[in-house]
């Protein structure tokens, strides 16, 4: 068994390598094109459309300068950036804390109503939130959360997918540790924070990426909740550069490139946990 595949290894490996290299190039191509466009003047875009011509005489950092100079519409860009950072950090931290508590509770304890609550988690997961958009908006108005950070965060903070994920993960946690903690006089909450949270580290790694990504890129709900330009998040701000009357391409394109950076860096940092976490806690049906 071990001798025969040796020879096949190289040929099919090479084929796979070629296939996936092409695929990877295709996948990264739009981002490369965007980056290239951000270095070129808008007039080039208007004349030829998005292209991949390398013309070093044309290329400059002017688009980025226009953002940093904060002229005109681009004046709010870094305020949007900081709004997005604040919302993403708050949302991710709260969502990780609360979802892991709920998931742990569902996975580790046997109690009355457990399967009902788990079913409700699945129901929330399967029904598009867009269905309740209008009443949720009305509720947000009556809670006086419109145009605020909390209006964006609170309704989606306890998210079904992370709960599901943490529950799957908690099913595999050692129950003996719980008893050991109890014998040592630890409270149930204490057991969770001191023993279980560290054990769930891979799950936290995976969900951090997931939730940070969702929050950083969230569009529809912030579009509804946020009213004034100074409160906008990055996606809403960037989208406001695209108008039927014409687009502020300098700010739009360089702003789009800068908007991808933080989440990309976060992913590169956490990718090991992300892939590992998905595998370990993975949806086993």
């Amino acid at each position: 068994m071990e001798t025969a595949p040796r020879k096949k290894f190289t040929a099919s490996s090479l084929l796979l390598l070629v296939l996936f290299t092409i695929l990877a190039v295709l996948m990264l191509f739009p981002l490369y094109a965007l980056f290239l466009a951000s270095l070129k003047p808008a007039s080039e875009l208007f004349r030829y459309g998005l292209n991949v011509r390398l013309d070093f005489d044309l290329m400059s950092l002017d688009n980025y300068r226009s953002i940093f100079a904060g002229k005109g519409e681009a004046g709010h860009y870094f305020q949007w950036y900081s709004n997005s950072v604040i919302i993403t950090v708050l949302f991710t931290v709260l969502s990780l804390l609360l979802s892991s508590m709920v998931g742990y509770g569902l996975g580790m304890y046997r109690f009355k109503g457990r399967s009902l609550i788990f079913t409700l988690v699945l129901v929330v997961m399967m029904i598009p939130v867009e269905i309740i958009l209008l009443p949720l908006y009305k509720l947000t108005v009556s809670l006086k959360l419109i145009n605020s950070v909390w209006g964006i965060i609170l309704p989606f903070m306890v998210a079904p997918l992370p709960i599901f994920f943490f529950r799957q993960f908690a099913l595999g946690l050692p129950k003996d540790f719980m008893d050991a903690g109890r014998i040592d006089g630890c409270t149930e909450i204490g057991i969770f924070f001191r023993i279980m949270v560290p054990l769930m580290a891979p799950a936290y790694g995976a969900i951090t990426i997931l939730q940070a990504m969702n929050s950083w890129n969230n569009f529809l709900w912030p579009l509804i909740v946020l009213r004034t330009t100074d409160k906008f998040t990055l996606p809403i701000g960037l989208a406001s550069f695209v108008t039927p009357l014409g687009s502020n391409y300098e700010a739009l394109i360089s702003g789009a490139v800068l908007a991808i950076l933080p989440i990309l860096v976060l992913f590169l940092f956490f990718q090991r946990y992300f892939i590992e976490g998905l595998t370990v806690g993975g949806v086993k049906g």
Binding site: M1, E130, I132, L139, E188
Partner: protein, 309 residues
């Protein structure tokens, strides 16, 4: 359970915080955030949506109108939205389940070099916001001769297309955008399930002389069923909930002849541009009905496969 509760006071010598210490109460404390959030931000709005769908909701004036909102759904805008969303959902299912599944199997193969590198690279598009992706793909599918898709067509002697002005071509653009953002995510889902398949199954099949294709059809596909059902479910959800992609491709303005109008786009238009909250809710409840029916169908169909096995 009963025994544990009885044993508790004996073990905990100092009953300082009885509430936090009680094993019977602790699980409820842990799931409390979900219960609150579910009641306030899901159940209450859902009931409200049902009520509102029978009302005409104008600023300072709410009247009961019975089924009028639902009758009003019988119009070309809604038909367009329903057609576009359904078509988009169907195509994403056909594209975004088999392709990522095959790619995941390849990435999981022992012959695959740099597997980790590729799975990260293919995931990177998913990190970009739909807004950014929309901006890029709007330019890629621009109507100018120099725009990427058009210059690609020129290589084959095909003349420039106005991508975002035709129903078929713009659906193609939307599907390219969807594939770009979702392939990597779905690959990761399938990979995570593949790694849970015990390798001795394949070894046993090897001994029996099974070929690659037989192993794939008889072992891989059946064992991936739970994850496939999951991916199917979230894809149906995602397909019918699609809004931002078309909002960005047409720069926030109505697409020509509604070619980009989706059900959620219609909810947004009626609710937040025309402040027609009652009618908007009726669209939402109809969408709920559609997703429930489709999910049920899917569960029945996949359940039937189970019986056959």
């Amino acid at each position: 359970m009963q025994q544990q509760i009885n044993r508790e006071p004996a073990l905990a010598s100092k009953p300082r915080n009885r509430l936090a210490n009680s094993q019977a109460l602790a699980p409820y404390l842990f799931v409390l955030p979900f219960i609150i959030s579910f009641l306030l931000f899901f159940a209450y709005p859902l009931i409200n949506a049902i009520i509102m769908s029978f009302q005409s909701v104008l600023p300072g004036e709410v009247t009961f109108v019975g089924l009028d909102n639902y009758r009003e759904l019988w119009n070309t805008d809604f038909a367009d939205a329903l057609y576009n969303s359904s078509r988009y959902t169907l195509f994403t299912l056909v594209l975004l389940i088999p392709v990522p599944l095959l790619l995941a199997v390849m990435l999981n193969s022992k012959k695959m070099p740099f597997s980790n590198f590729f799975r990260s690279t293919l995931f990177i598009p998913a990190l970009t916001s739909v807004v950014v992706a929309g901006v890029v793909f709007r330019m890629i599918f621009g109507e100018l001769d120099g725009a990427l898709m058009n210059s690609f067509l020129h290589l084959f002697g095909i003349s420039s297309q106005r991508w975002l002005y035709s129903s078929e071509l713009s659906m193609f653009a939307l599907l390219v955008l969807a594939s770009w953002r979702w392939i990597g995510i779905n690959i990761l889902y399938f990979l995570s399930a593949l790694q849970n398949i015990p390798s001795d199954l394949y070894e046993a099949a090897d001994i029996d002389g099974a070929g690659t294709r037989t192993k794939f059809m008889r072992i891989t596909v059946p064992l991936l069923k739970p994850i496939t059902v999951y991916v199917l479910t979230i894809s149906i959800y995602g397909g019918y909930a699609m809004f931002t992609e078309s909002y960005m491709l047409w720069a926030g303005k109505p697409s020509p002849q509604n070619i980009g109008l989706t059900i959620v786009g219609y909810i947004y238009q009626q609710g937040f541009q025309y402040f027609n909250l009652g009618f908007g809710s009726a669209i939402g409840i109809t969408l709920l009905g559609i997703t429930l029916v489709v999910s049920m169908l899917q569960l029945i169909l996949t359940g039937m496969f189970k019986k056959e096995e």
